[in-house]
């Protein structure tokens, strides 16, 4: 096969934060690149090449996933939630407010993924123990805060 023709296009339909998008995508395109580059939803970020950092965490059909670990075509006919959908209009979610109140973010690069992991955690387990909060955030790397204030923010939002 000739170089440059390896990618085949596929038509997909995804619903992101309540809006349905129909797009042609390269079969090998990562879901995070599809969200950021094709749909211009740049709130979800990329911090590694290996699925370790969690900056790209989103919720797909109710399940927390790292969107760099899925192809866009695998998300066909799914319901996706990203950080852009957390606030209700001007009203920030309880977690978003708690992150600000507890200074749980500095540069803000990990924050969208962190918020999605915490959102998924509190939906599944509205009153997590300290250990459960830490486990819920274990897949997300933050290099600014040392996690202490993130932990406090999630704990406060859960109370």
């Amino acid at each position: 096969m000739e170089a440059g023709t390896v990618s085949s296009q596929r038509q997909i339909s995804v619903t992101v934060n309540g809006t349905t998008y129909e797009r042609e995508v390269e079969a090998r395109k990562l879901l995070i690149h599809f969200l950021r580059d094709d749909l211009d939803l740049t709130g979800s970020h990329i911090g590694c090449d290996t699925g370790n950092c969690g900056a790209c965490s989103i919720i797909v059909d109710g399940t927390l996933v790292k969107s760099c670990m899925l192809l866009a075509v695998q998300a066909d006919r799914t319901q996706i939630e990203t950080v852009e959908g957390l606030a209700d209009g001007e009203e920030l979610s309880k977690l978003q407010q708690a992150f600000s109140a507890h200074h749980a973010l500095q540069c803000g690069y990990c924050t969208p993924g962190m918020l999605m992991s915490a959102t998924a955690l509190l939906r599944k387990n509205p009153h997590p123990s300290d250990e459960e909060i830490k486990k819920g955030l274990q897949g997300n790397i933050c290099r600014c805060t040392g996690y202490w204030n993130i932990f406090e923010a999630v704990k406060a939002a859960a109370e």
Partner: protein
């Protein structure tokens, strides 16, 4: 006056609440609202129509001649816009200016490798294509032929005979050498009761791995010959100085724009080679080009922290633990290129004696090139390495002389009543009370009950260790120190800019010269403005990010080296005071000749004291000057658009004596770590931890505490897990987050924070730069490990990296795996 306290969760204040003073309050951050909604604009979020994606072809060899490069396969691929090779770069640009004197000065450094590769991951060719994926595919089709050469991976071997030369122009692998000596070493060693000799100590390679990697979107405006460089480079002033001469263009043709930066920690200072490659590509291909670095590329090629050896250290000490002086040979491993180096060869001298009173010091400093990634600033740049060394010396001396590390520190700490204190090399420590900080830290970890805890741990089969890390965070550089590296350099002092204006509808607009990466500059700047203009921080709009078109920058603008609270906020203060005076001047004229002294700023306007009816809102002031100015006195001299340049009080250092004040402020940190080691495996947990910080006046305590926490976390990561490890062929064994473990939420120990507030007498707001004091965590963990081993084989910790297997080795074979130390009677 010094105030102290301990905090675990600072109180929040409501912005609406009336306050006499905004400085010192936990004003919620202005930045947060956009960031928690994913509305920040980071570098990969910037897009342009028709832009091409850049991917770099990188070297698989640590050291090799490039015998041929064939880009035709890549260029013929559908969707590829073009390529750039080292040969093209060498014809279109000049080598980057070198900071070093000879021999490092002779190094020829370009944006891409020319003729030779010098480390694994070095960029050789840039490929641009329609999509990220195609660019990556096409880079695989670039055919590069190599002739491998043996790699130099250990700095200690770099100057040996028959070792390959990395930079032929430099005539060997020595890049820079200088001897620093102050006091009277001979007298100190003659006075000593004992001399403690330490064979070698090693500070390892790691960096802060900001979660966002480097990147840029570069556009070229052919008509005016100008590049617009959207980038997350954190020191655009430095990048411009490097890039302009190399690209043979004026600096105003290089427009730097940033908004949000996803962490920097110094690691985003030296992306200028990649930025030059992007500029050349944007011009060559006549289209915007976008480069986002991959994590693996970042690990392999960007800004490793300085790896440093301390060889043949000798310490002169009295029997009671009084330290008289030391001599050592510092050997710095610069990696393959001098991108900011050899400045690390002088930056450490800002903190020459550490926190201690010894007056007789000799450091023979050598920096060599190796076939590893280039080193560049990393949080705590070069001071951290040196302070780790002084802390290691303290603990090893205490250990050897059977003294208490707490007592040795207290006996030798510079005392509060000696402040301001001039160090042996002419630096002036501005304020602080180190012994008091240590007391607070010890209290927070319940030190009086240490013995009981030790026994309790022992009963559970664990070895308890308690370690202290005391450290300084020197801030606001005097760039004149660069002349100690190279007397030909024409840098000195420092500066930062802010503009504050009152716009037509009364909007207060602040512009900073800085490039924040999470430090909350928009918020703290607004706090300073609000106090001067007697309004709320909510009334102040601080522009996000940096744009050299705003004309609010100076030569040293940027965000690096612990200085915003001094340089940035002093500029904001200066500009706001100018604006306040202008508002009064205008109001005086409008009120018909009322003198300034009779006016005051209050409630969003200016009024005559004692006559609240005579009130002119800011909105009216802005409207009058900008749109309704007929009839104003000709000589009024008011623009309501004020620019202030803060210039710290510095002299050019004495290059011969290597003497002078190298930084304006000295924030201090004392950390204490309590660990428990499992003797069977070497695994250890940090079971208790205290971090005390003194950065003078705190403008926003919550932001300060956030910096303390973050720096601590990075230090603990570095102490236990994080290391850039190379094999003997120069392959990086930890090129991504699989192998390079950064701490996650479950890794974090319980943390208690506290503070002492000793205002700096040298700064307009009493503030000190801060944020880089995390090195204390590395020192504390090393000390704690050594303390735990003290009664279990007695190995002395000699490396800053202490993963579990190394602790196990020190337990198993203390003589082989620990530091080689001897004590001789003087």
């Amino acid at each position: 006056m010094t105030t102290t306290g301990t905090t675990t969760a600072p109180e929040q204040v409501e912005v609406e609440a009336p306050a006499e003073q905004w400085k010192g309050q936990n004003v919620p951050r202005k930045e947060d609202r956009r960031l928690v909604q994913g509305q920040g604009v980071f570098i990969d979020d910037v897009k342009r129509h028709g832009m091409g994606y850049v991917h770099y072809v990188r070297s698989p060899y640590a050291h090799a001649h490039i015998t041929s490069i064939d880009v035709s396969g890549a260029e013929q691929m559908k969707g590829v816009y073009g390529t750039l090779t080292g040969e093209e770069v060498a014809s279109l640009t000049d080598p980057f200016f070198q900071i070093s004197s000879v021999p490092g000065a002779n190094v020829k450094d370009y944006a891409l490798a020319v003729g030779k590769v010098r480390y694994v991951g070095e960029a050789i060719v840039a490929v641009v294509a329609e999509t990220r994926e195609l660019a990556r595919d096409a880079s695989e089709l670039v055919d590069v032929q190599y002739e491998p050469i043996d790699a130099v991976t250990d700095a200690r071997d770099a100057q040996g005979e028959s070792v390959p030369t990395i930079h032929e122009e430099a005539g060997g692998n020595l890049m820079w050498h200088g001897v620093y000596e102050w006091g009277d070493l001979d007298a100190a060693f003659a006075d000593a009761d004992k001399v403690v000799k330490i064979d070698q100590l090693h500070f390892h390679r790691f960096n802060s791995t900001p979660l966002e990697c480097d990147g840029a979107l570069v556009e070229y405006n052919r008509g005016i010959g100008q590049w617009t460089i959207h980038t997350n480079n954190q020191f655009p002033g430095f990048a411009a100085i490097m890039m302009g001469p190399a690209m043979r263009t004026g600096l105003d043709r290089l427009r730097f724009v940033t908004q949000d930066i996803g962490g920097g920690f110094g690691n985003k200072i030296t992306s200028h080679p990649q930025l030059v490659a992007c500029c050349l590509l944007a011009r060559k291909l006549n289209r915007p080009v976008q480069w986002t670095e991959w994590r693996t590329d970042f690990h392999m090629s960007m800004s490793h922290g300085n790896e440093r050896w301390f060889l043949e250290t000798e310490v002169a000490v009295k029997n009671d633990g009084t330290l008289l002086g030391f001599r050592t040979k510092a050997l710095d491993d610069a990696g393959a290129w001098l991108r900011y180096e050899p400045l690390g060869g002088v930056i450490w001298a800002q903190v020459t004696p550490g926190m201690y009173r010894w007056r007789n010091i000799r450091v023979d400093f050598t920096q060599v090139a190796t076939n590893k990634a280039p080193v560049s600033p990393n949080r705590g740049y070069s001071r951290m390495q040196h302070l780790w060394f002084t802390e290691r010396v303290i603990d090893i001396v205490a250990h050897e002389l059977a003294l208490d590390p707490v007592e040795v520190r207290k006996r030798n700490y510079i005392r509060a009543d000696e402040m301001p204190y001039e160090t042996p090399n002419g630096c002036v420590y501005d304020s602080g009370d180190y012994a008091r900080m240590l007391d607070i830290a010890l209290e927070l970890v319940d030190y009086p009950n240490a013995e009981a805890r030790r026994q309790d741990a022992q009963a559970r089969g664990k070895l308890l260790g308690i370690g202290i890390g005391s450290t300084l965070d020197s801030g606001t550089n005097n760039f004149g120190q660069s002349r100690m590296i190279n007397p030909e350099l024409q840098f000195s002092g420092n500066n930062e800019v802010a503009t504050v204006k009152l716009d037509i509808f009364g909007e207060l607009v602040v512009t900073l010269g800085t490039t924040p990466q999470g430090q909350g500059h928009e918020t703290t700047a607004a706090q300073v403005v609000a106090d001067i203009l007697n309004c709320s921080p909510d009334d102040v709009h601080v522009r996000a990010g940096h744009d050299s078109y705003w004309n609010s920058h100076a030569g040293f603008s940027g965000t690096y080296a612990s200085q915003f609270a001094v340089t940035g906020l002093s500029a904001v203060k200066g500009a706001t005071e100018m604006l306040a005076a202008e508002i009064k001047k205008l109001a005086g004229a409008v009120f018909g000749g009322v003198p300034e002294e009779a006016l005051e700023l209050a409630e969003g306007g200016v009024r005559i004291k004692g006559n609240p009816e005579a009130f002119l809102p800011f909105m009216a002031c802005g409207a009058i000057i900008n749109a309704n100015n007929a009839g104003l006195p000709e000589d009024l001299g008011v623009t309501l658009n004020c620019r202030y340049v803060y210039r710290p009080p510095f002299e050019v250092p004495d290059v011969e004596r290597k003497f002078g004040n190298l930084t304006l402020t000295y924030a201090a940190q004392v950390h204490v770590a309590v660990i428990e080691i499992d003797p069977e495996t070497g695994y250890y947990d940090i079971v208790d931890y205290a971090a005390i910080d003194d950065c003078g006046k705190r403008i926003n305590p919550q932001i300060v505490e956030g910096q303390v926490m973050g720096a601590t976390a990075q230090a603990l990561g570095a102490a236990v897990h994080e290391a850039f490890v190379y094999d003997e062929d120069g392959n990086l064994l930890t090129p991504n987050f699989y192998d390079y473990h950064v701490p996650h939420a479950l890794d974090m120990p319980p943390l208690r924070t506290g503070y002492v507030e000793s205002p700096s007498p040298f700064t307009p707001l009493g503030t000190k730069g801060m944020g880089e004091g995390g090195g204390a965590g590395i020192h504390a963990v090393c000390a704690a490990v050594q303390d735990a081993l003290r009664s279990n084989g007695g190995a002395k910790v000699w490396d800053s990296s202490n993963p579990y297997h190394r602790v196990w080795e020190m337990l198993s074979d203390p003589d082989e795996a620990g530091a080689r130390v001897s004590v001789v009677e003087a």
